[in-house]
């Protein structure tokens, strides 16, 4: 087992996400309800509760994971968290940390043209909001 040393950098990262998400992420007690409730968890590399833990510890490596991008913002975790935490907001904060550097997670110009024939606007607008910076 590797020993983790929490530095001021880690604390700063946690504080930043706390502020963006308007949450006190340290309240998470790792019960796993969010992970068990998540409809997208099978697609994720880390579960929502692991994501919460990584943010708690201020591990910036969480930015390299896929979980926040797989989140569909369904708010099931939000309504079920026994600590009243909004995991969806934490995922959004992480996405925003990335997107605010003018980066895109998906390239909307590269979506095959034929897809647009059937896709409803709400899907495209949402994808732009969630995945483009």
């Amino acid at each position: 087992m590797k020993k983790l040393i929490i530095t001021s950098e880690n604390v700063k990262f946690l504080q930043k996400i706390n502020e963006l998400a308007d949450q006190d992420i340290t309240l998470c007690e790792q019960c796993g309800t969010c992970s068990a409730s998540c409809p997208m968890v099978a697609e994720m590399d880390i579960t929502p509760s692991q994501l919460m833990r990584m943010v708690q510890l201020g591990l910036k490596e969480v930015m390299e994971t896929k979980a926040m991008w797989v989140c569909a913002s369904c708010y099931t975790c939000t309504v079920r968290c026994p600590r009243g935490l909004d995991v969806a907001k934490v995922a959004e904060a992480l996405r925003q940390v990335y997107l605010r550097k003018a980066l895109d997670y998906i390239e909307i110009k590269k979506i095959p043209k034929y897809e647009f024939v059937s896709l409803p606007q709400i899907a495209i607008v949402s994808a732009c909001r969630k995945f483009t910076g």
Binding site: E92, S126, R129
Partner: protein, 298 residues
């Protein structure tokens, strides 16, 4: 009664049948939808970060349009705006709540939109299902000419009218509003726990295989309980459950397609309204055969 109505982009295109059927049934119930002038896309997903206000500008701009309509006496309901699309409902309602609870945010947004009149934060955002419940399922039942007898329908709610709690219109774990409505129409309701499981939402743009997998779970669960049809009130749920059946079939060739209705389409059928208002040509899985077999349409 005239009420301000926010359609949203999708109601004008891929979910036109949701709009036409809703307008038609509302007319039967004495409600006239007055479309907002110069409405803009709500943004479809509520922006969740604490410091981001720009994405609440669009919802608030639309609520200013409602204020203008009230002033011009274009509506009778002076406090409310009606939505049909669950995503619009969620986004407009949450942005509205945010500025109602944060006067500073409201000031900043009003300031940014200095060419518009100030938003006074007095409008309330409601969903069609709430309006129907308010009108009364008894009154709806009285309008039924064509009861949906023997039609086994599984209501599907999706996320945006249930969660989070402050915007939900029903119990997020066990919603019943569609059940009560469908029972009033004479349908046999197949309630199942998948009614509130997310369909994958906007991941349909990026990961349609996963969305098809979720749709498969939701649909086959309902089918196992005996459902012959699904109802929704969200154009994105409808797309994922209906149109994505094409993708479901690719992966599960044994899957039996199942029609997905907008709840308003089934109300219109029960009210005996004509085919034009039903708009079944926009449904991906053709529901006409099922309805014919049940003697519900000619």
């Amino acid at each position: 009664m005239r009420i301000a109505y926010y359609p949203g982009c999708t109601l004008k295109t891929t979910a036109k049948n949701f709009e036409t059927s809703a307008i038609a049934i509302a007319q039967q119930l004495g409600v006239e939808f007055v479309e907002l002038p110069r409405w803009t896309c709500c943004g479809t997903v509520f922006s969740l970060t604490s410091d981001d206000l720009i994405h609440h500008v669009a919802p608030i701009r639309n609520l200013i349009r409602v204020q203008e309509m009230v002033k011009r006496k274009q509506v009778d309901d002076e406090k409310r705006i009606l939505t049909l699309c669950s995503m619009c409902f969620n986004t407009l309602k949450r942005s509205n709540l945010r500025v109602k609870e944060n006067i500073e945010d409201l000031k900043k947004i009003n300031n940014l939109m200095y060419l518009e009149e100030d938003y006074c934060a007095e409008i309330e955002v409601i969903h069609l299902l709430q309006l129907l419940k308010e009108i009364g399922f008894d009154k709806i039942k009285a309008k039924v000419k064509n009861p949906l007898n023997n039609l086994k329908v599984a209501p599907y709610y999706g996320c945006m009218i249930l969660r989070p709690l402050e915007v939900g219109i029903d119990d997020p774990e066990d919603p019943t509003i569609q059940r009560d409505l469908l029972e009033a129409l004479g349908a046999e309701v197949i309630d199942n726990p998948y009614k509130k499981v997310c369909c994958g939402s906007y991941q349909t743009v990026n990961n349609k295989e996963k969305v098809a997998e979720l749709a498969f779970d939701i649909l086959t669960h309902a089918q196992r309980e005996g459902a012959e049809a699904i109802t929704t009130c969200c154009p994105l749920c409808s797309f994922n459950l209906d149109f994505r059946q094409k993708e479901v079939l690719k992966k599960h060739p044994d899957f039996k397609q199942i029609p997905v209705f907008y709840i308003t389409q089934l109300i219109a059928v029960a009210f005996g309204l004509d085919n034009k208002t039903l708009g079944f040509d926009q449904n991906y899985v053709d529901p006409k055969l099922l309805l014919k077999n049940k003697g519900l349409i000619k």
